[in-house]
Amino acid sequence: MLLRWSTCGFGLLGLRGLLAAEESRNPLAPKQPHLQARAKRAIFIFMHGGPSHLDIYDPKPRLERDHGKPLPFERPLTFAEEQVGGLLKSPFQFKRHGESGIPLSELFPKLARHVDDMCIIRSMVGDSVAHGGALMQLHTGTNTFTRPSWGSWVVYGLGTENQNLPGFITLKPTLFHGGSKNYSAGFLPAAYEGTAIGYAALGPDDLKEPIQYLERKGLSPELQRFELDMLQKMNRRSAEQANFDPQLEGRIQAFELAARMQTEAPEAFDIAKESEITRKLYGLDQEETRDLGWQCLVARRLSERGVRFVQVSHTYRVGNPVGWDAHSRLVPNHVGRAKQVDQPISALLTDMKARGLLDDTLVICSGEFGRTPVAQSGDGRDHNPYGYTSWMAGAGVKHGFIYGATDEFGYHAVEDRMHIHDLHATVLHILGLDHKKLTYFHGGRDFRLTDVAGNVAEKLLA
């Protein structure tokens, strides 16, 4: 044993050193997945505030029947304990759609045309009744600590396809309920941090320079290159003197990548290149749909260019002060929100499908929780993490498929329960990563996105 160590020990060390050097040169280089990947990349559409599954995806005749009656079982912890009353039927009509006959409510007439491409998960479960914890659990797996975002885990596991763009991009993220912690790399190296494009309050027109520091005003590209050449000359000379210390090499590469990003990235965000028809399709001509339409269109452009993980956020902003958080006045709230998202999201599916992108891209849509079947303040619904709906579309999942179910009131998930950990395990699986093998050693132990939990929902895999 000792002998073997002394003969190959340093050789091994040398090899590890080389790998480490490569890693430090480009932590985002594409990596071999653990498994056969069903999808190459993902787009995550986040609905902030907690859309009501009972009024969109999960019709409950029982609520119709027992409207106004008390909940017949012990109500689990809710957020606004004192204001919660009897059962509230959905004020919206449901209709079956497509060949699959999947019901959706009248809130989403456009999305309804896509049910045959969707895999609707009616049995989502999370652990937090408050927004902050719920957002963080959805994005990072835990509602308690600061941990890497799932986008960071994905890019850590897979690298990214386009070296001229970041691997994990989050468009106009929310600044609260965890804020940047929802896309931070946590303890993973900073290279895996989500690159935020603006933040929620900014409009598409405020994002002329989507990626920070992409452009130097007042200096021609030629002069910039001239300057960069001078810098790299100095850097190479000192790297030579330092016997090619990998850190110094890495920094030289970082400047070259930055220069390539400067040419490539603005083009990726330039929606002026899209046809009038496409822009209309996403609703960029309408005030209501412009914000999410811009995000969805940019998301498609980024996916098309090989960005591994893109997040789109429909979150609190002007014209949408509380997101989907309908503690009261469910009808105007959800009607208003649905108008903002129905067209952009269905446009994204239409467009991605037409371009063949749905064949290798997974689309995920979820809120941080759903809403209670019991009324709050008479005409609203409280937070419900015990059973709600998310959906996926595109590569890796069954289409026109309903997975799991809630109880007859829509309170608890009862069939094929899909805890957020399970959702994470499943998404990683679809992208070719084994959630149990995707680990990072930190602070004395290996960490996973799914902590010690998570099961892949095999039944919904295509």
């Binding site: 060390l13 309920h177 912690k181 200096l219 930055a258 006045r329 303040s377 005409d379």
Partner: protein
Amino acid sequence: MRRERKLGTPGTAVLLAGLVLGPSAGLLAGSEPEEFFETKIRPLFAAQCQSCHDAKQKLGGLDLTRREGLDREGSGGPVIVPGDAGTSELIRAVRYESKIKMPPTGKLSATEIADLTEWVRMGAPWPGLRTARRTDTAGGAFTEEEKSWWSFQPVLRQDPPAVRSADWVSTPIDNFILARLENENFEPAPAADKLTLLRRVTYDLTGLPPTEREIKDYLADDSAEAYETVVERLLDSSRYGERWGRHWLDVARYADSTGVDEDHKYPFAWKYRDYVVDAFNDDIPFDRFLQEQIAGDLFPAEEAGTVNARGIIATGFLALGPKLIAEQDKKKMLYDMIDEQIEVVGKAVLGLTLQCARCHDHKFDPIRQRDYYSMASIFRSTRQVEDWRAHVSELYFMPLVPEAESVQYFSHQKKIKLRDQQIKNIVEEQSAAYVMRVLPGVRKYLIAAREVKDAPPAPVPATAASAETAAEPDRDEALIRVASKHELDAVRLRKWIEYLKPTDEVRPHLNRLLEAGATELPAVAEHYRAEFEKTASKRYADLAAWRVEFDKALAKGEEPPERPRFFGGENRFFTETTTSNGPLGVSREQRKKVFSRDAFERLTQLEADLRELKRTLPPKPPMANAVAEEDPFQQRIFVGGNVHVTGAAVPKAFPAVLTHGKQPEITGISGRMELARWLSSPENPLTVRVIANRIWQWHFGEGLVRTPNNFGRLGAPPTHPELLDYLSSEFVNSGWSFKAMHRLIVFSNAYRMSTETASQARETDPDNRLWSHFNRRRMDVEEIRDSLLAIEGTIDFGMGGTLQSGEGQGMTTTNQLPHFDASKSYRRTLYLPLRRANIPKLLTLFDFADAATSTGARSSTNVAPQALFMMNSEFVSRVTEGFARRVLAERRTPDEQRVRQAWLMTLAKEPTAAEIEEAIDYISAFRKQSLDKDLTEVTSKRMEGPHRSPDYPAYHYNASTLAAWQSYCRVLLASNDFIYIQ
């Protein structure tokens, strides 16, 4: 307690006999079935069943928190037959075989059902509290292997080993390093040249570049003490505490907000930061520094009649962690806070991951779950937040003046609150009386309102002028007509009509009223009135009774009882119509008319009183985010870490493996004082080793133990254990003085080696575990930003205070960018506000310590966004312009001299003749190229910011010269030679 009481009830006797004397007899000794129950069944009941079947809810008479609760109250009888799973109702229910299917929320997994079946088959063992401890803490005794772990052993005073090249030795550190190098046949790297060393030690001790003057002075000083002079100057500078204090702030996971979900502000966190900076500048002995941070509030004040403000502020170490104060499982929230404190104490002070033992015994280190909860007991008896049970808990602020002083402020504030309530009470009482007076007429108003509503719309007015107000006047006509017909007040009727108008709200409670046909309308209106009266009389009576109690308490100077709460959704018709602008409400203007004269006078008097009270409010006492003693608390182990499943009680204690059977006695309320003393004792081998290792690491870039926060089995062993012990004992001997350690280290030759890496080291020791050369290191973000400001000439060396505005615990719930604009500040980087949810972009870009948890070592990445920042950010553009202007300032200076100056300012290095020539060629080529371009944009932009100068045109250089020099300055600042410390 409950257990004993219930034991004797007759209904449970049979079942108990079966359990205790049947197959499960003898289980109390702590055998396998017991463990089976504790690991599989009890957690399952807790997670799946107890939300309905606990001692409080007892749905179906079943209580699954206790063995005897298996026998249902009432006629149900026992739900299990010990030993016979097939006929046990519980098993049939979970298998969904019987009519009752449990849990109703979804069938348990097959494994869970199998476990339950197995448990019943075993005879349903249910160990009592007395033995439940067994699984909480698997191991009482520690194995020899566990006890002999290196870092738990006493620190041994080490004699420096002998070396062959004795003349290389400058301080004893060198003996340890060289002996090992000689042993492995390595040569130490040659000494760093004079300027490299100056730059290294200046950044190391102050985080700033040496100034031109400092460089010149040092080069001019060829005495033997030149280096010592520099080191002493640096150690005396206040910049030292800012640099080294920031190291500790990483470990203490310092930030200015709670982070996690709502990111509430810690308004006084900065006082803790300033305390840390001062402690380093004053070289406070580390043992005292540590004691203050754990229990500073418990140390007496230095002056009589004051409080120990400094000590209170120091406890910010415990108080300033991430806190999830909006979490609704309040007990979990509280224990997450406690867990966070155990974690930070463990990692920062002991180098142990104590928090791993929250759910089970530590998997790798000899830390038992029992140890964890013994520590938790200490922090559970410590005040964490003002009221942990509140919906969104309030942060705790401790006054920094004696109680006699702060009490004035708080009692005055309380008076304001009470006066305010008295005012509300009169308004409520009088409004209620008014409502009851007009209540009989409500039926008539409702009918009339419907009549107006149903009146046929008036014909379209002919003129354009009246068209704008078309709808209203005509309704008015109907309104007046109907009002006079029924002899009603038109103003009040209008309010009713307004109320009944459709809104975008769903108001199912009004449907009957709005849809009633003409014939049934009177009856329906009467129904609404009657329902209203029912609610009103009940509530008004409750409130009146409460007001009596309130006034009584007020008269006696006692705490008034809480106001009764009503659920607004119960009778929305009542709630909505009685708001101050509702049809039955009393607006502020109406008060005089509607209230009794006496009441109105009292109200006016109280309102004047309140204004006066607010005017005379004494100034708010200075406060700190701190911890304090709480009521003593008997902590129990939480089975599986689940705060809702309690196990055995534990005493307050420190991890057993570290106390060697000599557990210090804890007599204080929380035990923090004892904890502070135990942690800071020279006898505690971990504390001193951990800090000695950190000091080494902060000088050398890597620790002797490369996992500074983990000295346990998953940590790295020390590269030089004897050296670590030598440093540790020296540290204690020096009186725990940081500055003594700095001298010991920076005067060593190990520290003064160059970064030159021999090929032998590169190939066989790539991680430099032998310390054969000095580690090249990238500047951290504070060094980068502070250097840029220093080179720009704009840095503001003002110390302390906060750049955060506002006082309360304001949270972030909007999507407007809340954080401070770092680019507009010239203060040193450690003073920038740190909102955990929105750490300034620049900081995270360059690997700032994540304030989520104690950071032992930051990472050091090289990624494209950092390069973009250096190339394109407005901040760097501004800085390079200021830098270029400094270099260009003197008209007569030759360009070679300017290049030389720029090099000294940034790289602390003399350029060679070839490098000067290259620079001058670059600048003139750039200028030539840029002359062809339109530079107007550059020049106009330049008129903003700190370099704006009214005499701009009078400068001896033009825009393209400035642009060319600015570009060269940028090249220097973006270069590896700048950002790496050699």
